[in-house]
Assembly symmetry: C2
Amino acid sequence: MPAPSIDVLRNLATQLRIDSVRSTSAAGSGHPTTCLSAADIVAALFFAEMRFDPHDPQHPEADRFVLSKGHGAPLLYAAWAAAGAFPREDLLRLRQLGSDLEGHPTPRLPFVDVATGSLGQGLCAAVGIALNARRIKSDYRTYALLGDGESAEGAVWEAAQAAAFHQLDNLCAITDVNGYGQSRATQWRHDAGAFVSRWMAFGWHVVSIDGHDIKAILDALAEGRRTAGRPTMIVAVTHKGKGVSLFENKDGWHGKPLKKGPETDAAIAELEAQYIQTADPPPSIPFPARRASEPPLPDFVTAAPAPSYQIGAMVATREAYGKALAALGALDRRVVALDADVKNSTYSEIFERQFPERFYQMFIAEQVMIGAAMGLASRGALPFPSTFACFLERASDFIRMAGISNVNIKMAGSHAGVSIGEDGPSQMALEDLALMRAVPNCTVLYPCDAVSAERLVAVAAATPGPVYLRTTRPKTPVLYDGSEMFPAGGSKTLRQGERDVATVVAAGITVFEALEAYDTLAAEGRPVRVIDAYSIQPIDRQALVAAARETGGRLITVEDHYVQGGLGDAVSAAVSEHGYRVCRLGIREIPRSGPPDALIDRYGISARAIVDAVRACV
Amino acid sequence: MPAPSIDVLRNLATQLRIDSVRSTSAAGSGHPTTCLSAADIVAALFFAEMRFDPHDPQHPEADRFVLSKGHGAPLLYAAWAAAGAFPREDLLRLRQLGSDLEGHPTPRLPFVDVATGSLGQGLCAAVGIALNARRIKSDYRTYALLGDGESAEGAVWEAAQAAAFHQLDNLCAITDVNGYGQSRATQWRHDAGAFVSRWMAFGWHVVSIDGHDIKAILDALAEGRRTAGRPTMIVAVTHKGKGVSLFENKDGWHGKPLKKGPETDAAIAELEAQYIQTADPPPSIPFPARRASEPPLPDFVTAAPAPSYQIGAMVATREAYGKALAALGALDRRVVALDADVKNSTYSEIFERQFPERFYQMFIAEQVMIGAAMGLASRGALPFPSTFACFLERASDFIRMAGISNVNIKMAGSHAGVSIGEDGPSQMALEDLALMRAVPNCTVLYPCDAVSAERLVAVAAATPGPVYLRTTRPKTPVLYDGSEMFPAGGSKTLRQGERDVATVVAAGITVFEALEAYDTLAAEGRPVRVIDAYSIQPIDRQALVAAARETGGRLITVEDHYVQGGLGDAVSAAVSEHGYRVCRLGIREIPRSGPPDALIDRYGISARAIVDAVRACV
């Protein structure tokens, strides 16, 4: 098929501009000027560069497009409508409740891989999408459109270096240098050189062009396709609001639609006058090559080998994590791992040793680690990104967007809590459960021993959507038999009697404190029920309510986490409509360096603290 | 005073190496190799470059040093001991419980401005410390020592561009290019050029040196001092573990102390042999110039002008925030504001118009915005960084470290909740309360109207430590008289009667839904108590317990936030030992774009939902 003529592409760009103005005016909100600066770039990409099937946007061989500047959503929607994915008139339902054409793109739309709209994230996802092409041995290409303003986000530079390190020559990004942010001119205005030097320094091939020159755009894209061994950045200087004289290249128009009526009508008339008379044939989008779709994932929970540990053996849950992950890797080639230069602490190195081609080292750059995992997951991989739990928080905003995207990522955070000891508070995750619980579709798992850790890795793989698995630094004794199963939403009752005076709900390292407290309390005639709440979200409401009912309505939660937002709040939420009393033991101040056991006691989550709490409440 | 000789500085570097080995061996943990690579740099900085008083490290005119590679803490401690700040033998208490010589530096130590140990943050704080010198018209200089591995963090590049944009020629950073990360060689190994080209592209003056050549280090520091209009980066190539042949320039030695006994003894003997015989005089550290210390801060709560709004007038809390912030700015020159290119949405532009020299535009780079605010606060400024609440989450890990640092930063997050409407979920903060509550020393405030917003801005200024203020996009009616006061930890009971059947606890936008629900319920003979919980942390436990006791032990919480980690959990924690029932209304799924009122109803936090909940529980 011949490539469409420049005139045809210019007319398509005009159409995208008209649709962007019309839909934002109809919605009464949105970002028309952001759309207009990039219309020529998107027209060239969609109608003369990318291979895809508008009616099967998730085709595994289709080229991918990530709109990192997510507020340009109306332009994206206009492009897919122009490609035939849905009727153009649907664009007028932009931003209406019930329409999937939301203010910023989400994967509720079949042609969106990951949600964007939190700026500076799109290129991180694109890195993962490009890594996925290598994984499935496909030659699909990945394109990402960035705004100039969002280039201030550090995450963009994490993506830049990760793409260069992994030599992603199947990745081509375009920066729309329109010169304006939301509240003022960007710090670089139209200085293309500032972008060129940065991207070159980060190891990219760089092309600098006039972003309204269709021919230049096509040439630059072709140059990117020809470039081997490194990704390509096209620095495209544009005018914000291009084509509408009222706001073209003017400050103060960010995020402002034109008023319905004469203002909009005049803009559309001005744009319509830009159509070029041509008899050239319309574009014909090349379809991707055929490819057999991947089979369903195996049932990881039943397929994973049973853990084989001696009861009482001392094994760190983080080490069991690494072992179990490698076992999953043997079950399916879609299982991949990412790490942030701590593979010897998270034990993801066990996976790397067995599957080096499916292990992605992202160095100390947690945002691109999670972003790339989102991209990989959006294309069918099953990524396990891991680092210290506290450093996962560096990627909080990505995790928030992973929730909105509902991608299948399995985050593993090691070294949680004061039990890490001497390294001190900067290395202790004490708010990670709060963070992860606040992603409403995130499953939160927290094993206490090696058996539950191994089982929960398989559960994570088998559970759709984002999953967080929290592991511990010190070794803990193996508590469970290898045949035991740990479904999400379940719990284990470890001590139970008819005269239990209260229920102690623990998780992770505190399970062992609770068991020790049980011995003391039982000896003094105050037996307690002990529950291992290994599934923090969803939590085992039924078991908790039953236990509280049978133990005088008294629950004591104990967690190696700040007392806010973690196990205590989760348990309390589960039982609070019944009016049971919940006494929360958890960390209540910024801790210090010290030996793990001393810290566990000092901050009130030791067996002694549990015994005191039970005595006080009974 | 003459500068110390090179031989003296080399001997000091040897002493720092010996102390770093000895203290980590005594502790049985820590990162000796990380210390040894940077010992020459730190010796030169402390004993031939910086002006400071070891016995008054917080002197306002003293040069500042930020150890961004916080795991090099033993080196930092050794340097301060060598300078005379405390006895050298104290170094052997490294990492012991009760010693302030923790695993990573915290401001529990008088010579530490901000906690480090989460990599990639130090330069962001240094930007704020350097901005502070300009604020107080001081010529103190700010130094930051970075690791090469941490240069992978995007936050480093946010700091790079902010320092260049603000032309911070009083800032000099050094990158210790020792070639190794934790788990492997860095992606750049000893390629100094990779660093030089990046920092130059980001607008810095760059000097590349052998980081073990004391003369070269001194010359580079002098070159930095002479450089006008831009910050200086010294790229210093070093050997990790320098001076100890067992681990010098070898992989696999990160974070591993030498074994006590022969291994440590041999290393110390090897280092001691590196002392040079010299009769040159010991160093004499130049003291900073005298300066009157700043007066105490005013009592902002009483000094701030009373809000002047008509009851019932429609005003957005974010706009009241901007107005109140400008009023505080007039009260004290230490009040400064930072924003991330949304000043026209957060209304920090009102402050900028009045005090442009105290307004720092950080563009779309929330990590350096919070990091710079931490640095400013550590030097006596009272910074108010603001952006959309959801984008503050980009800086979650910085906020975590701000808690550990206990710095006086006042974070303002606008556009919280589904009430933003059509922009969709990526722009809605629905987990910010969970995040901020999980910083145990963070005060969390959430005004519902313009009067409480103005008052709470003053309360934020007057409350020590980190404070978070959550504001709303839509206008809300003014509810309170301008004379009303809103102390942290308080609440307002808005509806109260003797026959109240339940208590509805609301905050922010849901206060108005609760009041509307009250009208419906009162009309049907089911009056409820209505509480405005404007202080989420600390929360008004006493008022909540009393209200619950007087209204049948029934509490209904309603919040424009996910149901996890926010108001409902805070209220539940406050009353749970009493066994009252708490019914939580909050967002339970990822929301969509739509009109604010429609979203509030659809996601179950409207007056209708409250009425239903009260009917169901009574």
